[in-house]
Symmetry: C2
Subunit: 692 residues, 2 copies
């Protein structure tokens, strides 16, 4: 059974990441299932691939589709014209949302699916045949896709009964033996293998067109330039460990498995390993690059224009060479010829890299067979180990400097939020008409005033009333609600600072909450408290704790259809693996000391209101009087310090222990955040941290 709940929308759990099943190639032994990490995590706010960095929400949503809606036919025609070119020769082409690195947020120039189809939502797959064009997206985007797609496109509502998958559809509409093209850079090797297997049922062939992307061919001059802003060094005082020691750790890992090299392709892994940051994509301080680490050298494949003198010297000191981003495939080939034992994480490394390595290996071994007089060189041929990248876990377990940075960033973020809530409360009181977008924009302004602020860590979810019940809601300028005092207001937002990444949700009512709303809020809060106070033995996977977040809701037949917690990077991606706290049982990664997870239970009443309460937590050693089994017991330390609205708490439902938790939390909030405030905001904080 895949899940506790009846048909939770896939989107609410894995979003851009393929479902876990897809992450497991059939060729891998079952044991690997346990350690295979969820690439992108599981919680409430969406991966709305916004395209601008630190712009107010009111400026979002203008772009690709608006200007291009009248020429869509032409795009399909042009694309289909390429199908029959002798160097292409395909019957269908699949255009996914991905970039070459399985990123959650991607640069505008890689938004090929949006360009081609006109549909600008973050998740979707376009498939074009010689006479049909279809776009798959999930429940979050049905309405938006209906609006944005032209008549030439068929909308495929994923997850709806009777709607085929892309491969089922291709098997259905194409005559047997068709040639289906993909850009292998845009598929993980696992995903490409699964696709290949699926379409082989109809004897279709998967054609890896790695020389050029067909959409880029028609996009031409109007295609945005690839990002080219300079990268920067992530200061050792925030990184906590230098590149040399990180690479040395990685090499020792390679050695253990008999590998001589690894391709690191996840952008946050590259940034983390090299103590570098960039601004190539919205919301995540990463830059486009591949890193190949060998036992005695390391090479970063990057647009060298982005490498400042300071970064260059930083890399040189760490023994990291530079090559152009495009030369990575050539390097993969030469690794094979060198006889490398290459570590490849087939769930993240793209199919272009893996297939180039494989063919090079084959060529190498046929060469060997031709020269088989020299038996000795039979040993030492190139080979691949398909295994989850060891970088993810290392990155997830934060060191002291990273923890310190996260704590500091959270305090500044809390100060910004307190100023914001104080301001908003007054505005609403004064009947100022503010839309959800206005509110999100104002929040951005308050955050921008904080030291070391870079940008939002995802598009702010600002949902009033019924909009709060849409888990992945994102207000659209000109088409969103006012924030008023008649219903609940849910605000899920986060920021990137130089020293840390934040992610916080608060739900408030500026008027009189109903009894129902108070009961639901209180039960969500009880779940939040139960996770926060949990103590558990080492080696406990996150999903074991998930029930604690739901118990109070379950008691009255309520629940929520998303995970309870996702990992968060330190001044990196707001969603990171491998850990999670989720009702799905697939992720067996143990919660470990130094990991950071969100704690965000919720409740959503369709067409009515939404509730979510989210703090970030650090996994720490618990202070317990016993240690049964001679092992460590772990617990959580809060990183987020922003008041929870006590007016929404139904006291009669709360246990004395839960009330104490809330009062203790507010005492801490006052103690930690008040030094950063003054004036009205300080008064507001005092008023909102009084014990109940």
């Amino acid at each position: 059974m895949e899940a506790t709940l009846s048909s939770p929308p896939l989107s609410s759990f894995l979003r851009r990441a393929p479902p876990l099943r897809r992450l497991i190639p059939l060729s891998l032994p079952p044991l690997l299932i346990a350690s295979r990490r969820l690439r992108v995590s599981s919680c409430a706010h969406g991966s709305n691939g916004g395209r601008f960095v630190a712009r107010p929400s009111s400026e979002l949503r203008r772009g690709i589709s608006e200007n291009s809606s009248i020429v869509e036919d032409e795009k399909l025609l042009s694309l289909r014209r390429i199908f029959s070119r002798p160097d292409v020769g395909i019957d269908a082409y699949i255009v996914p949302s991905q970039d070459a690195h399985q990123s959650e947020f991607i640069a505008e120039c890689f938004m090929r699916r949006a360009y081609l189809s006109g549909f600008t939502g973050s998740a979707g797959t376009a498939v074009v045949t010689k006479d049909k064009a279809a776009l798959w997206t999930d429940g979050r985007y049905f309405l938006q896709a209906e609006k944005e797609l032209s008549h030439d496109w068929t909308l495929m509502r994923s997850g709806t009964r009777g709607v085929p998958t892309t491969s089922e559809w291709l098997n259905d509409i194409l005559p047997p033996g068709a040639r289906i093209g993909i850009d292998p850079f845009l598929f993980s090797f696992d995903a490409a293998e699964e696709l290949k297997q699926e379409i082989s049922k109809k004897n279709h062939e998967l054609i890896l067109l790695k020389e050029f992307n067909l959409v880029d061919e028609i996009w031409n001059d109007s295609r945005p330039d690839p990002p080219s802003k300079p990268t920067r060094v992530h200061d050792i005082k925030y990184a906590g460990a230098d590149v040399v020691s990180k690479l040395s750790y990685l090499r020792s890992h390679l050695g253990e498995y008999g590998c001589t090299a690894i391709v690191v392709s996840m952008l946050d892994e590259v940034a983390w390993l090299l103590n570098m940051r960039g601004s190539d994509v919205p919301h995540s301080p990463v830059f486009y690059g591949y890193l190949i680490v060998e036992l005695d050298c390391a090479t970063l494949f990057v647009d060298t224009k982005k490498v400042t003198k300071e970064v260059l010297s930083h890399l040189t000191n760490a023994g990291v060479e530079l090559k152009t981003y495009e030369s990575v495939l050539a390097e993969i080939e030469s690794l094979a010829l060198k006889g490398a034992k290459l570590w490849l994480d087939a769930s993240s490394v793209n199919a272009a890299i893996v297939s180039v390595f494989r063919s090079a290996c084959e060529r190498y071994s046929s060469q060997l067979n031709n020269n088989s007089t020299n038996q000795s060189i039979h040993h030492g041929g190139p080979d691949a180990l398909y295994q989850v990248s060891p970088v993810a876990l290392a990155k997830a377990v934060k060191n002291n400097a990273e923890i310190e940075g996260m704590k500091n960033a959270h305090l500044r973020d809390a100060a910004a939020l307190v100023e914001f809530w104080c301001w908003l409360e007054k505005e609403i009181e004064n009947n100022v008409a503010l839309t959800e977008v206005d509110v999100a924009d104002a929040l951005l302004e308050f955050r921008q005033k904080q030291e070391s602020f870079i940008e939002t860590s995802f598009d702010t979810i600002s949902g009033y009333g019924a909009n709060g019940a849409i888990i992945h809601y994102r207000p659209i300028p000109g088409d969103c609600s006012l924030v008023e005092n008649k219903n609940l207001f849910l605000l899920d937002s986060g920021a990137q600072y130089v020293d840390g990444t934040t992610d916080i949700t608060r739900t408030v009512h500026f008027g009189e909450p109903s009894k129902r709303q108070k009961e639901c809020f209180t039960r969500v809060l009880q779940g939040h408290i139960a996770i926060d106070e949990a103590i558990f033995p080492e080696r406990t996977p996150g999903f074991v704790l998930d029930v604690l977040a739901r118990s109070s809701l379950w008691k009255v037949g309520l629940d929520y259809r998303h995970g309870t917690g996702h990992g968060v990077g330190a001044a990196l991606n707001v969603h990171e693996g491998p850990q999670s706290i989720s009702f799905r049982f697939g992720n067996l990664t143990a919660l470990q000391r130094g990991m950071i997870v969100s704690n965000e239970p919720g409740y959503y009443e369709d067409n009515s209101f939404g509730i979510r309460i989210e703090n970030l937590l650090l996994v720490t050693e618990a202070n317990v009087p016993n240690a049964y089994g001679g092992i460590e017991y772990l617990g959580f330390e809060k990183l987020t310090f922003v008041p929870i609205q006590t007016m929404l708490v139904e006291l009669s439902l709360m246990s004395p222990g839960e009330i104490k938790w809330l009062n203790d939390y507010h005492a801490q909030v006052w103690e930690k955040v008040s030094p950063l405030l003054n004036g009205e905001a300080l008064d507001w904080l005092w008023k909102n941290t009084r014990p109940i």
Copy 2:
């Protein structure tokens, strides 16, 4: 990762059942993992394969080994002599504890491992080579095995670092290409396949010696006769569904999967399907037999001496024919020749049956190939579907009559227990010297007075002080503690009644418990209450709830190394699958309305004391005001009604809700059980059900 806890002893969880890993043959598709059930379940009391029915504990433990310890050498010699017989020709022989039906409790005549090795514990595997003899058992039995094994045997302490498995040992000590014999009746097909695969690493061959068991050959005249007591009809008023409808359900299931027949070999499944009971093994009201159900007929393979006239007419009415127990293999062959599509649960059906069917199928298809001029008969050849038996789940979900019987049996059992506790308290007060065995014997006497009592449902675990910390403790006459008023006393016991099966643990102190003991007891009770009060959405597997039972202990760094709940049969096995509540994540079976599970968290302080509080629970629809997701929410209804000692409760740790739970429970106990009592026992019940 296999478990939350560090190295829990395998024995505490699966006991006779092989670990889940062993239940999954590599040849089955991964999806099957989900539905594969745990044959024997997970909780605290052991499967001490006692040999006598309803005898007092003081008579136990006399038997096989005592009389035979001086002739052990001779047994090994005789056994090895058979190795070289032309019809045998083996280098080693493996003697497991099992009977041919994977039973938890087995008849004396099948206790071959005990006879051969002298070791009488319930779990163990003996392996004899031409010059070595070794016995594997787990931590429960290390001391007992050391005492009982002669010098000719090497004790292999399973689960201890550096101790090889049986196959590792065989691979280590035998020269490559050895022939290793087993009695294929005593291995499930899965277990035999795994063994075969393991020993093939050293090119050893697995020899299935199905014509005779080598130990039986040397046991000869001293071997106890097979059980021959008459079987009986399990009244429809307790069974709730007649045989015809059960078989019809099973046949519709076969039809769905395109099968024409199924071999049912688990004794409780045979008894349940046929509404029959027997007394062939201790503690379980079952009888030795196989049942083959075809689409248009059904045959019970049983020692026909056991079939009374009444049973015969009952079977005839249901269209069930009789054949001798031994003729099952011949029938399997003829099924193959009939072209049957046979449903085989490879985790329970023994290797003799499966291998006979497979060879018959091969013969059949080679016949077909020889006559290949007739193309049409190619279709319809015999075939096997390896899938978990559909009977287990059907049996686990109790109907109203079964539930009614269980409830009534529990009330009578509660009356017996109240009389017993009232008596024991007085005896201790009067300083009567009673051993743990005396106490267990007395309990049996109180139960024997109850209507429809048959026997104990397992050997009573009567553990005073430090003995209570031994999870599978079983007191030995002449070598056990007195029960006094200076420490905790743990009593885990159960009974078989005509209408139901019970299993209950209470922990009490007859003097002054320490602060530590009260805290630990209270935390165990809090876990018990949390499970009891849990409400959860349908499709929730039991392991999701397990954390609720541990949370309070985890808060102070304590835990217990066994599961929290196992399934219980209705007037059948005290341990049954497929559901469980466990910290292992392998069992994805959802808890379903009508299932019965134990709720038995515990805490064990080595060399000091043990605590366990166990009730049986029925899964019911929860009475909740919402139904989020349009699904059913489930909860538990208590079956067990015996006071919990309130003196052991540390009130300052208990929430108001938990105190209410305890008071409500005791009010129910009084209401339900007092009508069955009078005199001192009634007074005792009144006193022990007062609110705190």
